[in-house]
């Protein structure tokens, strides 16, 4: 009986300790931002691996999500004779929800897992300890540029996703299903609000960028320095990021649109 109680206590304590280390790392990352400004090249390299290399998967997914939205939206809207509002449906669902959320999920799978594996291997091969031996803070030198790169790249990728998705919906709706081209754009412009919809979508993707990169870096930095530990940490990155994104999305949506 006491053993089981102790086991439960150990699990809770370990979780709390992990949360504490994660927040200490976040403090270190935020403090390291100041030292990043004199050396922007570090950031450029990370923007390349986190942002540029993710463009392909983001744009292709955005195009197909937009096209599917066009098809499915047309099916439902045609039952009410409201196919002119297809543009509103496609743009609203992309800009408000699918853009930020799907981009964040893809980002966690494409860039987050790579970040974790990279940093985990650096730890396993004792490169991080090597840096520390040379009196270089690995959080400032290795982790902070990656963190800022993820934070910057996410909203840009989400905007690309939404923009390409709207064009994909246009191809299917106007090109394939015969919705009027003028109605597609004018209804969209009349009903999508810059502040209400577009800005809130950007805010969402900023939050997701922060959280996803933070989780990926923490899992890499905190992993067991073995090959098994790295593989576990990579899995945890994807799982935790997905859960955090979907949970936060509900909270943000309730705060932004719940009135």
């Amino acid at each position: 009986m006491l053993d089981q109680l102790a086991e439960l206590g150990r699990i809770v304590l370990r979780a709390v300790a992990g949360l504490g280390r994660a927040h200490l790392l976040m403090l270190g990352l935020l403090r390291g931002l100041r030292d990043l400004f004199p050396r922007p090249l570090l950031l450029v390299h990370q923007l390349y691996s986190v942002g540029v290399l993710s463009i392909l998967i983001i744009t292709v997914s955005g195009l197909f999500v937009g096209m599917v939205l066009g098809l499915q939206g047309h099916y439902v809207l045609s039952k009410f004779g409201a196919t002119q509002t297809l543009g509103v449906m496609v743009a609203a669902s992309l800009v408000r929800e699918l853009g930020p959320v799907v981009t964040a999920l893809l980002f966690a799978g494409r860039a987050g897992s790579a970040l974790t594996a990279e940093i985990g291997l650096m730890k396993a091969t004792e490169q991080l300890s090597g840096l520390e031996m040379m009196a270089v803070d690995p959080v400032k030198r290795v982790l902070t540029p990656r963190f800022l790169a993820g934070f910057i790249a996410m909203p840009l990728l989400a905007s690309m996703f939404s923009a390409i998705g709207v064009v994909g919906g246009y191809f299917v709706g106007v090109g394939l299903l015969g919705v009027d081209s003028g109605a597609y754009w004018s209804q969209m412009q009349a009903n999508i609000d810059l502040h209400e919809d577009v800005y809130n979508g950007v805010i969402k993707s900023l939050v997701f960028g922060f959280v996803c990169t933070w989780i990926a870096l923490f899992q890499g930095y905190d992993c067991m320095p073995t090959s098994e530990g790295v593989s576990r940490a990579t899995t945890r990155t994807v799982v935790h990021s997905a859960l955090a994104v979907l949970g936060l999305d509900f909270i943000l949506t309730a705060l932004m649109f719940g009135k």
């Binding site: 450029v44 923007l47 540029v52 463009i55 790249a153 939404s162 923009a163 412009q189 919809d197």
Partner: protein
Amino acid sequence: MFRMKTIEIMVGAFMAMGILALFFLALQVSNLSTTSNGEGYVISARFDNIGSLKVKAAVSMSGVRIGRVSEISFDDGSYEAVVRMTIDKKFSKIPDDTFAKIYTAGLLGEQYIGLEAGGSDTYMADGGAIGMTQSALVLEEIIGQVLFSKASEGAKNAEGAK
């Protein structure tokens, strides 16, 4: 060194593409290009019943949108709805005996305010009030009237048959 240069170029292209996408969303998808830049003048009108008119609904004249509803309030002295609307600056020649009516776009569509110009030579100024208004059509009231007239018709017919 060449490799570094290509990476820099690609990162630059990435940033440009992202910002371009954001501009596309702002200009082509949202209403930034269709909303006026906030310049205009405010006129008000009092209605007995505004139906489901909402703030930001269109104000149109001959079917052309010339402004938007900026505020809706309730006057608890006269029990009337007070609708304030912002008219674009360039439409400055609205006669002061203009007639305001609440229309519905389509059978179940959004409600908007239609203005019909009067014949006066003096024009509405900032803060002016429209004197003549007609309330929104409320579907239930129309149905009630039709039912009532049908019922009284039926009663009359029954009396005639006696």
